[in-house]
Symmetry: C2
DNA sequence: CGGCGAATTGACGGACGTCAACTGCTGTGG
DNA sequence: CCACAGCAGTTGACGTCCGTCAATTCGCCG
């Protein structure tokens, strides 16, 4: 495994505070692996043996019930996922699937649990990570229960715009089927909702979106700091507030359970 | 503060594993307080200074947006809440309101953060608690995104039935307005949905529900262990599986972030 | 050029929210 | 003891949002 990859992992909030020894212990027994697009890494209900760290590519977390399927989160590098199941040594509640060819680091679950009780700093980092993930889900649930489809879409566009520089023109980061599932609607309805947003100054050409009347869109969306994570992207932030202001977050949560 | 109350707190998963010294430190600077019904303990967006422990009564966690309001969780004793905000020293994302007159223990947030870095056992317990809360929310979000209102209600009834002994007759634990908000529907629609369940052998007289054809209801509800927490109530469970099998859980999560 | 999948559009029906009227219960005060 | 106010719950009518199915268009790659 390349040093540069190790350093990227070490820089994660989850590992930044732990001792060198802890970090060596965890990475010594780790697997670094590449998966093609469309690979199911983990099926919901499966026993979870590893903590996954996405180093390159895109991973989708999804839930299923009764032949329906929904996207709970879409992850980009560098992100960890299924921490909660690892901490509790429990079954996964979500499936994980690569959207693109991805490079993934797999850290032994038992090792993580063992190290937590020995390195309080690491245990605290895990608790903080889980707390951040929890709060991301609270936001998602409020978003889902309190807003209608059009409002969710409008807020999503505002969030993406801010994350991509606030220039009022940006690209949708996923194909529209996936985006629809993330927003909790059907692809057909996403099309119609995007069409409906022309009245609010939103133009869509393929994957590129331009917002010609930001104020009008905001009036519709009514973004709320208690639902939307609206931090503009800042480089290597430090200090207290940054614990929840991570680089490159994707809609509901960047790092996921 | 009475010893018996202290012991109830000590018995919580969150505090069971920590040292006596840690526990004394935390409870020394704590407030024990009674609140009348309908008191807002915490408004969403407020700075959170305490970890709350509900010892007696009922507390509702709710979220608001644009004059809409939704219930995210309803807590019964003994439960902790807003742990996530305390761990991250962040604003609360939900409001907390007493439904009945309640007795609540308030533990200093700074003390909790301080103690976490000194007592690895406690930090691990916090991480496990957060992981359990996270998984509760994943279930809620899947429940919300994947099921329709009637299906959510049917599964709620099945869950309540199991939690109250599986005798196919039980009482709704909250008034119907609150239940509707918890299930993500309007009170009117809850009425209609309950009426619709007659076809599946569900009879409702005031707060008491009887299920005359459990199999029919199950065929409609299609309960799923990856969404519904269907553990029947067991007394003082021990061992690994119990980490997520707590006494007296209420629908989505028992203990809440 | 042909073909495939993604995206769009239209038509339709069902689920759900809203408004309003009505019922039934409970506690209060005459 | 009864009348009545107040509130939770129910029921009905209606409109909107949203999912489904089907047909069509668009863009990309062979």
């Amino acid at each position: 495994m390349r040093d540069i990859d190790l350093e990227r992992v070490r820089a994660l909030p989850l590992f930044r505070g732990c001792s060198d020894e802890t970090f060596r212990t965890l990475t010594a027994g780790a697997f670094l692996q590449r998966f093609p697009a469309g690979t199911t890494l983990l099926l919901e209900g499966d026993q979870v043996d590893f903590l996954y760290v996405l180093l390159d590519g895109i991973v989708e977390l999804q839930g299923t019930w009764n032949d329906r399927e929904t996207t709970l989160s879409i992850l980009r590098p560098v992100s960890t996922f299924i921490l909660a199941a690892v901490v509790l040594d429990a079954d996964g509640l979500m499936s994980a699937r690569t959207v693109e060819r991805s490079q993934i680091l797999m850290l032994s679950g038992p090792a993580i649990r063992r190290v937590m009780v020995e390195d309080a700093g690491f245990a605290v980092a895990v608790a903080q990570e889980m707390a951040g993930c929890y709060r991301g889900l609270v936001r998602s649930l409020k978003n889902q229960k309190l807003r209608g489809g059009l409002e969710r879409l409008a807020n999503y566009l505002i969030t993406q715009n801010l994350r991509q520089g606030g220039l009022n023109t940006f690209n949708l980061p996923h194909d529209k089927r996936t985006l629809a599932s993330l927003l909790g609607m059907t692809p057909e309805n996403l099309s119609r909702s995007l069409a409906a947003l022309v009245d609010y100054g939103v133009e869509v050409h393929g994957p590129t979106v331009t917002i010609s009347r930001p104020a009008a869109l905001e009036r519709l969306a009514k973004p709320d700091p208690l639902i939307d994570n609206h931090q503009p992207v800042t480089d290597t932030p430090t200090g207290k507030a940054q614990r929840e202001r991570w680089p490159l977050p994707d809609h509901p949560v960047r790092t996921a359970g």
